[in-house]
Structures are given as structure tokens and as C-alpha cells.
Symmetry: C2
Subunit: 116 residues, 2 copies
């Protein structure tokens, strides 16, 4: 009998195609929310983009630069960043180490993310 | 001018009161979702409880035992566990190390969590 528990090993999830050409693994996808783990190697970054819903980021590993609207900050492991809907944002890894962040979009977006 | 970016250092957040008497820090709370970081010291555990909405867990550190309904599994860092609404669940730390998990409830619960 299959149970109700669903366990996902993020290491074993394949990266999905994305316009940023980075490692982006969808780890949760329900009617209410979508979550993706993004890995940026040193020197990698996301393109500036707009998400139609609120996003929060939980930094899992390393240090990244986050840009939201006109603001910019350097953020490390175990920091949570809120990014409101429809504000251009992106992450940049200028460090010498891998940067990993959990991206949670709530509610589930009904439109595509738009690159700028 | 205050900007739109909100950054939270989880280390600096105070634990809120909770019926499990463990370190539970609310890190995100909007109309759409609530997120809490729970830390279980070796030997600590949550009481079995029911959440009125879907929950997903992202293991941040260490190894914990998760019980959801009649199922039980041992889960480590960078694993995501889905726990459907209204199924009794809890976490147990039987390891010798700290266990930390990000708990994301979506949508935002309108009723209290019920202990069993």
C-alpha cells in the first residue's frame, strides 16, 4: 500500500529547463505553492525577472547577492528574504563557493515568470 | 526611505511559545503562507498533531524521524517531506546532533494546530 508520506531527496532531483540556464530543481508543486531549489556556481547569476506572486527565499548554503527593486544586499546561510509580487529581482553569486537557495512562491503562480 | 526588501536572520529570531516546548521561530507570515524553523535538540520531539492545511518540511540540518499517519521515516539534510492536511504527524530527534527543519504551511491556516 502506498502511503501518504512523500519524501524527496533534493540531490536526486533533476534540474528543469529555465531561462537563467542554472541548476533549478522543482521540489514542491501543489495548488497552493511552488518551491524550487536554485544552485548558483561561483560567477553564476539569475537574469532580472518578475514573479506574479510573493516569493520568499531561504538561503541553504553560501553567500549570494540579492537585488529586489532598487535594493541590493549580501545574504548568507539561514537568512530568509521576502520579495513581493511583481518587483524585479535576481540573485548573483560573486563568492568563490556554491550558493544554494530555496525559493517558495505563494500562492501558486497562474502566469509565467517574466524576464526583463 | 524604507525599501521593499525584508531580510531575516533566523539566528536572531526569538522562539515563540508552542505546545511542544521546543525552539520554534516564525520566519514568514503572510495571507498565503506561514513558515517556522523548528530546532530539536538530541532527545527532543514534537507531540503528535494535526495541521488544518498542507505542510511541507525542508530539512536544514541533521537527521530526524518523521511520522505521518501510520508511516515513519528517517530523513536528513536537503530532503523535503510533504505532509497532507489533517494527517497526524510529528518529528523526533533520536540522533546525537541538533536537528533543524523549515516548516511551510500553505495556504495560511485559519484554524489552530490540534495536539492529539
Amino acid at each position: 500500500m502506498r502511503g501518504t508520506m512523500k519524501i524527496l531527496d533534493i540531490d536526486a532531483v533533476q534540474s528543469g529547463p529555465n531561462p537563467h540556464h542554472v541548476d533549478a530543481r522543482k521540489v514542491y508543486d501543489t495548488d497552493n505553492a511552488v518551491a524550487v531549489v536554485i544552485t548558483l556556481q561561483p560567477g553564476e547569476s539569475l537574469k532580472r525577472h518578475i514573479t506574479p506572486v510573493d516569493v520568499f527565499f531561504y538561503v541553504l548554503e553560501g553567500t549570494g547577492i540579492v537585488e529586489i527593486g532598487a535594493e541590493r544586499a549580501t545574504v548568507g546561510t539561514d537568512h530568509l528574504v521576502e520579495s513581493p509580487a511583481r518587483i524585479p529581482h535576481r540573485w548573483i553569486n560573486e563568492s568563490g563557493q556554491v550558493f544554494r537557495v530555496l525559493v517558495v512562491k505563494v500562492p501558486k503562480p497562474k502566469e509565467e515568470t517574466k524576464l526583463l
